[in-house]
Subunit: 68 residues, 6 copies
Amino acid sequence: MKISARNTIPGTITAIAKGPSTATVKIDVGNGLTVTSTITADAAADLGLKEGDTVTAIIKASDVLIGK
Amino acid sequence: MKISARNTIPGTITAIAKGPSTATVKIDVGNGLTVTSTITADAAADLGLKEGDTVTAIIKASDVLIGK
Amino acid sequence: MKISARNTIPGTITAIAKGPSTATVKIDVGNGLTVTSTITADAAADLGLKEGDTVTAIIKASDVLIGK
Amino acid sequence: MKISARNTIPGTITAIAKGPSTATVKIDVGNGLTVTSTITADAAADLGLKEGDTVTAIIKASDVLIGK
Amino acid sequence: MKISARNTIPGTITAIAKGPSTATVKIDVGNGLTVTSTITADAAADLGLKEGDTVTAIIKASDVLIGK
Amino acid sequence: MKISARNTIPGTITAIAKGPSTATVKIDVGNGLTVTSTITADAAADLGLKEGDTVTAIIKASDVLIGK
């Protein structure tokens, strides 16, 4: 499935912390860069996410702010 | 100013396309990875964004979806 | 690819209006219900979206407000 | 009150799970389609949400991604 | 209709600029504070928005970042 | 750092409630107006947020819905 979000960044899960309703996932996308994602705990279970998984970080262009 | 968003990724503007109301900005964050941001044209003008600028891509953790 | 968003709704594109930077897409998800999506014009071109396409409307649970 | 969001979908709450800070609400919008919303626990209490309630699922068009 | 968003701020439209697909609306919420909203041009027409209108700026708590 | 979000509202933290994964922050922005923000608990700790802090509420224009 191709997706309309303009940022689809492949990476590897390096850490996943599961709270009562949300899960915080750290994704190594290379070059020392880690992307942090918070998703619902339900989603983390549904996708069976675990450390070492190859995943895609998906980010809409309109959700990227710029600081200068 | 420190910001609550969990993803603050430094990079360099490689392209900026200004439409009537939005601007699409391409940010090289290293390792061949480009992050795309769409902001208001007003914001692009206000920040004086141009190619070669060093900027920060700011993304809330809750705006990062995961695909597997 | 399975995705962390909790709402993945299949439907058929019934209309697509392309502006200079955004595209507005109407998706019939059945039962007379139409979901409206605005994506970047680039995304619409990249996915080759056109009327009659079978697509999935993807919505994060945290992006669904409730009115009562 | 009319709202700028382009998706205002009427439905019935079929389930509501309240966590320490968020509530996950399942809304039957007909035709076997269920929309999932996560809102703050405070909002769920403020609106007095409960199973069987008739509510409106409100989604900005720009928060609807498309997969194809 | 009561809404799950935790920020519902009354104000008056002081300016509205309509582009091909989006409209930028300035809302005076008092005390010299102006809130800027970008909505679809369709929404601006649908709500019949014009200068002087009394409106509500609706913002989810999770869409408010904090800088310090 | 200047930021692309069109709403950057200075205020003072009047309350902060920390949950297992999120923190809810109340910001007095003057004139009796309080803005509510939910951020990750990690962010609240990282910024060392506490009552009385002077902070900026940062909101993208596209995250402001309008009701009329």
